[in-house]
Symmetry: C2
C-alpha cells in the first residue's frame, strides 16, 4: 500500500500523515504497526482466473417455496474460481460498486471493504467504490462516501465498523426496495456488496432478486459476518469476526482463571456474547478449559430445567470442594435462558398477564400462572423476579436479553449450596463473581486470520461482481491450509435458505447454524469436560499476537470442523 | 534456562515436559512462547559489583516516632550497586532464603521469584530457596515448598501468583512475630524476601526490625508490588504489575471505544480497579483518550459533590450531542466515592444509625440524618439506596466497595439529562452501558517491561541479602533507559515511612502515593481533556505484543514521571 495522504474523514480527526507513510499520532503503536501489515492472497486470486459454474442449486429446505420467493434466482449455480489463462480472463473494465455494513460489529469488516477496493484497483482500473453510511438506511437514503486510497488506508487491519458505520435497518417494504433501486440507478451501480449476518444476507438475496426482476444491472453479493459464528455452511466454513472475538474473550477468561487459581476463593461466572447459538462459549471453552460450560443447544436438547442447570453447577462445586478447590470458572452463553423450555413458557405467560391484568402487591396475580410456571417463578431469585416484572420493551414484553443470567445463576447456586450445607452434603465456601464479556470483543484489532480471511472475501466479492454474478455469498474455503491453498468461490444464497411461517406468510431465512451436538467441536468438549470440571487444566491463551510464531493460529472450532485434531 | 523436567506441583497437572524443553500441552502457544523468553539484566548485575552505602537516611515524616518504632534500623543508609573488581566481589556462599507473596495478584510476581532464584544459582551455588505458601500465613505456619529449577520453570514469565499463592494475613502480634522467628530459625534462613504492597512492605520492615532485635541472622528485603501503582517514591519509580494491568485494561477500553464510535449510540461507563489511588484510571486515559475521566484525587481536592460529578458528565454529554455525538466513553476509578467528602459523611451517619436504630419502612429513621446527608441520600438512585441499607460487612458497616459506581452514575446522569431535556437544554439520546475491568488485569501474562523489571527486582533482592542487608526495598531505577542502563539498589524502608495514629497509638505506614495534581501525568491529562471530551480522539492500544517493534514500550505514567514526553 502506498504512503498515506492527509485524511480528514471526520472520524479520525487526529490521524496525520507523516512522510513515512505511517500515522504518527492518533493511533497506538500497535494500530500503526497493523496499517502496513501485508495480507497474503489465495493463489487463485493472484493471477489469471476463471469463474466456473457448478451444477444447479436447490435450497436448504422447502425448495418449492424458495423457488416461488426467488423466481429469478432460484436454482442458479454456485461458482468456483480456478486458474485460467490470460486469454480467458475477465476483460478489465471500470465498475461502480457500492458496499454496506449491516448489523453488529465484527473484527475484519474494514478488510472486506479494502479487499473489494484492492480488487478494483488491481483489475478494474477507473472503478468507483461507494461506501453507504450507517447500514442499509444509507442505501435507501442515498447517503454514501466515495472511497479513495487515502480514505481507506487508516482503516486497514483495524477493528470496528467506523469507516462507514453500520445500521440495523432492513430493506423490506416495496417502498424501501424502490428507494434502494433509485439509489442504484442514480449511482449507476454495477454491483453492491452487503456485509452482514444471516438476516442481512437473506436481505441481500431479496435485493438481488428485486433488482433482477426490475432488469437493473446492479448485482448483489453477500459476505458472511458475525462474531456469533452462527452463519456458516459447508461452503462458508466460518463467519468473519468469530476468530478474533473468541480470542479476545479467551484472553480475558484465561486471565480470570489464573486469578481464580491464585486467589483460591472465587467462582467466576462469565457470560459471553451469542444470543442464538453457543459457538462463542464452546470455542472459549476449547481454548481455556473451564470447570463448567453451559451450551444452550445441549440444554435445549436435553430439555433441562433451570433447576437441572443449577444442580449441575452445584454438583461440580461440591465435588471440587472435596478436593479442596473452592474456586473455579464457569462459562455461560448469553442466550442460555432462551434454550430452557420452562423459562420460555413462564415468560410468555408473564407477557400475557402483564399486558392484560393488574399486578397487585399481594401477589394474587400469580394465581394466573400455570402451576409449573408459578413454581419456576418462586424458584427465581427476588432480583430476577423484579427484573422480569419491571424491565419491559416498548411492546410491554419482558426483556429476556436484559436478564443478567450470570448473576441469576450465582444466586441460585448459592441457595442450592446452602441447602446442601444444611444437609452436610457440602462443606466448602462459595463466593461468586460475575462477568459479562461482550462489547470488548466486537471491535478488537482483527487477528491475522480474520484480517486475511476478510481481505480474501472482499477480493472474491470483487471478482464475482466483475464476472456479473448476483445473489451469491462470497465463500472462501480450505481455511486450515496455508492461505495460498484457500479455495475461493461464491455460493448461491438461495441454496442456504429455508422458509419460516410468520404472520401466516412464508418468509425466506438462512437458518442459523447452531452448535451441532454431533459435531466435532462439541464432541471434543464432551470428551474433556469431566476432567476439566475437577482438575485445574486451565489454559491462558494470552493476548492476540500479530507477529511471531503464535500469530497465525486459527480457532479450534474451525480446525475441528475441518477435520483436524487440536 | 535448561530444558524442563516433569513437573507435578499440583497446580499444573497437565503441564508436560517434552524433549524440546517446551510444554506441549496444558499451556497455550503464547504461554509456551513466554517460557523461554530471555530477560536482559541491567549491566551492573551482569558482572562484578559492589554494594555502596549512601548517607544515613531519615523518614518520610515524623522521624522521631519512626526512630522509636525502629530502634535498630532507623537511619540506616540506602544502597547502590556499582561495578566492582572481582577482588572486592561478594564471596560466594550457599544461602538459605525464603520468599513470600503478599496481598493481591500483580503480573510479574513469578519473575521476582525466578530472579532471586537465578541470582542464587549464578552467584551462590548450593543455596536453597523456600517458597512460603499462601502468603505471610505460610511463614507463621511453616508451610513452604523448596523451589527447584523444575518447579520454577513453568512459571517463568507467566501471570498469576499460583506458584506459591498469596494471602492477606499480617504478622502483627508478638505471638505472630514469634511464629515467624521460629520458622526462620528452624529453616536457618539467611534471608526473606517479601513481595507486596505498601502494607506488606511496612510489615517486612517490622519483621526486619524484630529479627534484628532478636539477633537472628535472618535479613528481610521487600519488593514493590501492586497493580494500583500507589507504592512508589523517588527511589522506587513504579510498582510491578501496574504496566501490564493498565495495558490489559487499555486494550479493552480501546476496543469499547471503537465499538462506541462504530455503533454511535452508547455511553460506556467503565469502572477500573484502584481503590485508594486513581493511577490506573489516569494511565488508561493517557493511553486511550476517553471523553470523560474522573480522577478521585482531583474530586477530593476540589471538594466536589456527587451532583458536581454528575453535572460534569452531563455537560460533556450535552455538548457532544450538539456535535451529533450521542456516544462516548467515561472512565471511573473504583474508589471514586471514597474521595467525595459528602458521601463519606453520609456513610458514617448510616453506619451509626444502622448499628443502633430500627430502620422503619416508612422512613422515619431518615430524620436522624443531618440535612446535607438526607439531601444526598434522596439524590441517590433507589437501587443504590437499597444497596447502602442492605449490603453490610460482618461489622455491620456499609460496604462501599460493593457499590457499583458506574451503574450509579449512569442512573444519576440519566435523571439529570431528563431534567435538561424537559428544559430543552438537551436534545440527544442517552443510553448507558456499564463495565467493570478488574480481575481480567491482575493475572495477565506480564508485559516485557514487567517481566524484565521483576526479574531485576528479584535478582537485586538476592544481591542485597547476599551482602547482608536488611530492612531495604529492592529498587531499580532509570527505567525509561535501555535495560542495560537501569540503576539498581536498595532503599531503606524506614526512609519511606511516616506514622499514623490509630487507636491512640502511632503505627508506621508507607504512605500510598496518590495521583499528584502537580505531577506530569495529571498535567498532561488536564492539558488534553477538553479536546478529548468533544472530539473523538480515541486510541486503541490493542493487545499486548511480546515480540516485534511495539513489545517493549513502557507505560505513559512512568515515562512522564521520569521527565519524558509522550
Amino acid at each position: 500500500m502506498a504512503a498515506a495522504a492527509v485524511v480528514s474523514n471526520g472520524n479520525h480527526a487526529a490521524v496525520q500523515a507523516p512522510s513515512t507513510g505511517r500515522f504518527a499520532s492518533g493511533y497506538s503503536e500497535v494500530q500503526n504497526s497493523r496499517l502496513d501489515h501485508s495480507l497474503p492472497l489465495p493463489s487463485v486470486l493472484k493471477s489469471s482466473l476463471k469463474v466456473v459454474d457448478g451444477p444447479p442449486s436447490s435450497a436448504a429446505g422447502n425448495p418449492d417455496e424458495i423457488a416461488k420467493l426467488f423466481p429469478c434466482l432460484f436454482g442458479q449455480p454456485s461458482v468456483n474460481m480456478v486458474p485460467g489463462d490470460s486469454a480467458g480472463e475477465l476483460a478489465p473494465k471500470a465498475l461502480k460498486i457500492g458496499v454496506v455494513l449491516s448489523g453488529g460489529q465484527a473484527p475484519g469488516g474494514h478488510n472486506v471493504i479494502s479487499g473489494i477496493f484492492d480488487y478494483l484497483q488491481d483489475r478494474c482500473k477507473g472503478s468507483t467504490l461507494y461506501g453507504f453510511r450507517g447500514g442499509p438506511a444509507g442505501i435507501m437514503k442515498g447517503k454514501y462516501v466515495v472511497l479513495t486510497p487515502e480514505y481507506i488506508y487508516p482503516y486497514r487491519n483495524q477493528g470496528g465498523f467506523d469507516m462507514i458505520c453500520s445500521g440495523r435497518d432492513k430493506i423490506e417494504t416495496p417502498e424501501q426496495f424502490k428507494q434502494a433501486a433509485d439509489t442504484a440507478v442514480k449511482l449507476d451501480l454495477d454491483g453492491l456488496v452487503v456485509i452482514g449476518g444471516d438476516d442481512s444476507n437473506t436481505n441481500a438475496c431479496l435485493l438481488a432478486e428485486n433488482f433482477r426482476s426490475k432488469n437493473l444491472k446492479t448485482r448483489v453479493i453477500g459476505c458472511p459476518k458475525t462474531i456469533d459464528g452462527d452463519l456458516k455452511s459447508k461452503e462458508v466454513p466460518t463467519s468473519f469476526g468469530f476468530d478474533t472475538a473468541c480470542k479476545i474473550y479467551a484472553e480475558m477468561i484465561g486471565n480470570v482463571m489464573v486469578d481464580a487459581r491464585s486467589t483460591g476463593k472465587y467462582y467466576h461466572f462469565v457470560r459471553l456474547m451469542g444470543r442464538a447459538a453457543s459457538h462463542i462459549t464452546l470455542e472459549c471453552a476449547l481454548q481455556t478449559h473451564p470447570n463448567v460450560t453451559l451450551i444452550g443447544e445441549e440444554v435445549a436438547a436435553k430439555k433441562q430445567t433451570l433447576k437441572n442447570v443449577t444442580d449441575y453447577i452445584a454438583d461440580v462445586i461440591c465435588k471440587r470442594a472435596e478436593f479442596g478447590y473452592n474456586y473455579g470458572v464457569i462459562l455461560i452463553p448469553e442466550g442460555l435462558i432462551d434454550f430452557i423450555p420452562e423459562v420460555q413458557q413462564l415468560i410468555s405467560e408473564l407477557n400475557e398477564i402483564l399486558a392484560h391484568d393488574v399486578v397487585d402487591e399481594a401477589g394474587i396475580w400469580k394465581k394466573k400462572l400455570t402451576p409449573q410456571s408459578l413454581e419456576l417463578f418462586d424458584f427465581l431469585p427476588q432480583a430476577i423476579q423484579e427484573q422480569l416484572m419491571l424491565e419491559r420493551d416498548p411492546h410491554g414484553n419482558v426483556q429476556v436479553a436484559k436478564i443478567e443470567t450470570e448473576k441469576m445463576l450465582i444466586q441460585m447456586v448459592e441457595t442450592e449450596l446452602e441447602v446442601r450445607k444444611q444437609a452436610s452434603a457440602y462443606k466448602g465456601q462459595f463466593k461468586g463473581q460475575s462477568h459479562f464479556f461482550g462489547y470488548e470483543g466486537r471491535c478488537g484489532l482483527p487477528s491475522n486470520f480474520d484480517a486475511t480471511y476478510c481481505n480474501a472475501l472482499g477480493y472474491a466479492a470483487g471478482v464475482l461482481l466483475h464476472s456479473g454474478k448476483t445473489g451469491l455469498i462470497s465463500s472462501v474455503g480450505n481455511l486450515a491450509a496455508p492461505v495460498a491453498e484457500w479455495t475461493v468461490g461464491g455460493t448461491a444464497l438461495t441454496s442456504l435458505m429455508d422458509v419460516e411461517r410468520r404472520h401466516g406468510k412464508f418468509k425466506p431465512v438462512i437458518k442459523k447454524a447452531m452448535v451441532e451436538l454431533e459435531g466435532a467441536p462439541f464432541k471434543k468438549y464432551v470428551s474433556m469436560r469431566e476432567e476439566w470440571a475437577l482438575k485445574n487444566l486451565y489454559i491462558n491463551p494470552g493476548p492476540i499476537q500479530f507477529v511471531g510464531p503464535t500469530a497465525d493460529k486459527v480457532n479450534h472450532t474451525l480446525l475441528l470442523e475441518l477435520g483436524y485434531q487440536i
